[in-house]
Symmetry: C2
Subunit: 450 residues, 2 copies
Amino acid sequence: MSIWGGKARRPNWGECPNRIAVIGAGFGGLAAIQGLKKAPACVSVIDRQNHHLFQPLLYQVATASLNPSDIAAPIRRVVRSQTNTEILLADVTAIDVDRRVVVLADGEVPYHYLVLAAGATHSYFGHPEWEEHAPGLKSVVDALEIRRRVLLAFEVAERETDEALRQEWLTFVLVGGGPTGVELAGTLRDVARMTLAKDFAHIDPSTARVILIEGSPRVLAAYDPKLSESAKRQLEDLGVEVRTGLHVTHIDGCGVMIGDERIPARTVLWAAGVAASPLGKTLGVPLDRAGRIMVQPDLSIPGHPEVFVVGDLAHLDQDGQPIPGVAPAATQMGKHTAKNILRALAGKPSLPFRYVDKGSMATIGRGAAVAQVGRLRISGRLAWLMWLFVHILFLVGFRNRMLVIIQWAWSYLSYDRGARLITGRAEGPLVHGLTDERLPATTQAEAIPS
Amino acid sequence: MSIWGGKARRPNWGECPNRIAVIGAGFGGLAAIQGLKKAPACVSVIDRQNHHLFQPLLYQVATASLNPSDIAAPIRRVVRSQTNTEILLADVTAIDVDRRVVVLADGEVPYHYLVLAAGATHSYFGHPEWEEHAPGLKSVVDALEIRRRVLLAFEVAERETDEALRQEWLTFVLVGGGPTGVELAGTLRDVARMTLAKDFAHIDPSTARVILIEGSPRVLAAYDPKLSESAKRQLEDLGVEVRTGLHVTHIDGCGVMIGDERIPARTVLWAAGVAASPLGKTLGVPLDRAGRIMVQPDLSIPGHPEVFVVGDLAHLDQDGQPIPGVAPAATQMGKHTAKNILRALAGKPSLPFRYVDKGSMATIGRGAAVAQVGRLRISGRLAWLMWLFVHILFLVGFRNRMLVIIQWAWSYLSYDRGARLITGRAEGPLVHGLTDERLPATTQAEAIPS
């Protein structure tokens, strides 16, 4: 039975005695929302996007394997059966913890309990000017921009007659050797050597260079050193040039600098750093260096037991280590917070959160991956199959799962990728980058000797 | 055997004795390219987009049923087996028929034979200022913009507390009652009354008004009057308000004027007029009122037997009627032109073109369509099934066909639509339209009585 009587399909938000606001419908926010399904309360979900995004597969949109809607589900659809929940498409600008309202760009949402799950964004380590030349991968828009740049680079190379410039267009630099950088690097080589290999008249796409630059001594630094070593070997088998222990000191539209060395490259992608959502600052509580909120053991903030922070925006140490900013941690935090709010509504005290690490895995390319589960360390095809299985399992919605399976099967068998569209920027110049750069001035006069 | 010897995988374009340029890879251009597969020549395909678009299904992208890549195939992929063909992603600015070169924004392509298949664009009947308020449907970018506006209108209505404004956001006006307008109108009602019906807390999407305005006395004016009548009835059964014989005199961000009557509506879509590509003007030959090129019976232009025009850009009368601007006509013209070029290369004279009308069909909504084939006039579910079958049959590529079938089956069984994403304009305001318009100033205070 609902608190607002049997007949009304939906509660009256204005009169609701228990209002819960959830900011962000990523993994953490969505888990909280779903955990509040039976809460005797009015839940207001606030997100800038109308969809929940399955970010672990976003790199597949960026590399033309999947469509955005294969990995994104409308929030309304996901929670349509929850009649105690409203969805507001809006920009949150601040949280006023004293007045207990979420401040929007165009209004306010009052709350009795708040779940802040606003996540993280890219960090360019104090070089915001790099963003234009080296887009990161957080949203659907980011992924489509990366897809556009990658596919366009091959098109421009095809028309370029100057051999040095052509090489620059066929060079791709990935900055950052975490899971996203490793996935993008491996998949870009797959695209170059398999998907595009036979589609061009004047270039050989399989000669494309993919360079992965990592500042720390090894890729996938959060993994077991043996797996890092294996990942490096698998990347090199795919033809990726892995360079570790090096820091990028400059990025422009024509390449990157590593110390004194210049790498000419027309496509540079950023997978190096994340920064917490700036909303954290508006709470007025201590943050860590990356801007994350130092939460209490029950994920609430100091002095405000009614405000909870989950996901990448929360900093909580466990066994001397911060809980990692990964999807399973966010999901667990969201579920736990929903339980704590239900407890509070029932007059019970909240319980501390404990993260259960069920293992982690990173994919590298066709048949290549690493995984660690408990004490197990797995590499290669078996890890890749595990990765496929787990990601299909957690993908939201039956339709999405089915379509992804079909498209993966198709890609695997045909070496093709279905989403090879260059879209966007319809009215701008065809090619991004420096304004003094143009497409090659003539069409191809010489074919590559075969 | 190819003219450049057995070993070379690709010809040397610079030295090629027979260069054929094809501008545009729509239905006409693609048919010409495929017909030139075995031509002893070097074919240069020039397009602004990297993909062939199956335009008859574009309205399904605009209404969130299909993904762009389901109905778009990379041109390179489609013609990958044609080693005599290069693809150039470029903007054509003019054709210099005297020097026999295609002038690009950034270069030139010489030709011995030219196939001009640049198609058509929207025409706002001398009111270019309407475009911003009433986008048309020609490209993937157009379709995603329409999808964004339609989905966003429901989101804004959900947050709007003023009843009159909410009604404006829930009113959709389609200008133009040809096939595109009819398809969009019927499908929008399907979206409102089925897909979205249960997903909102404060509005009832099934109350959304869809108004179709047509200037001539009947919708689908190119069809048999009986089918027009049937289409009108089927539209009205879906809840579309059909208003014929009325001309729109003004469009702004808040609605349209029909004569002295104002219809408040925050979403207006344009399906009323097309204009031929402006490239036609650069040929220096006579054009018709819509800017189409008056071609010779063999589709060449006067004085230049080496220049052919196919598709929507060509005007040719047959039996006293202009050949219609539809996909089958473009395809037939493209095939015919390829044959004529092969004949010319063999020293034979060109043959006149004759359009074979195999019938036409327009879909209206779930289970609703009209079709005329020879003397047959078919309406309703049978026409709809025929429509499904024919469109699947002609969709380019096995993968696309399979994915479209699956998604259609899913939509039909579940009433859901898979591609309900609001994307684009990541950095702009959430809502399009007048700059003095804002999202509602407060969140929802009252629920709709149930």
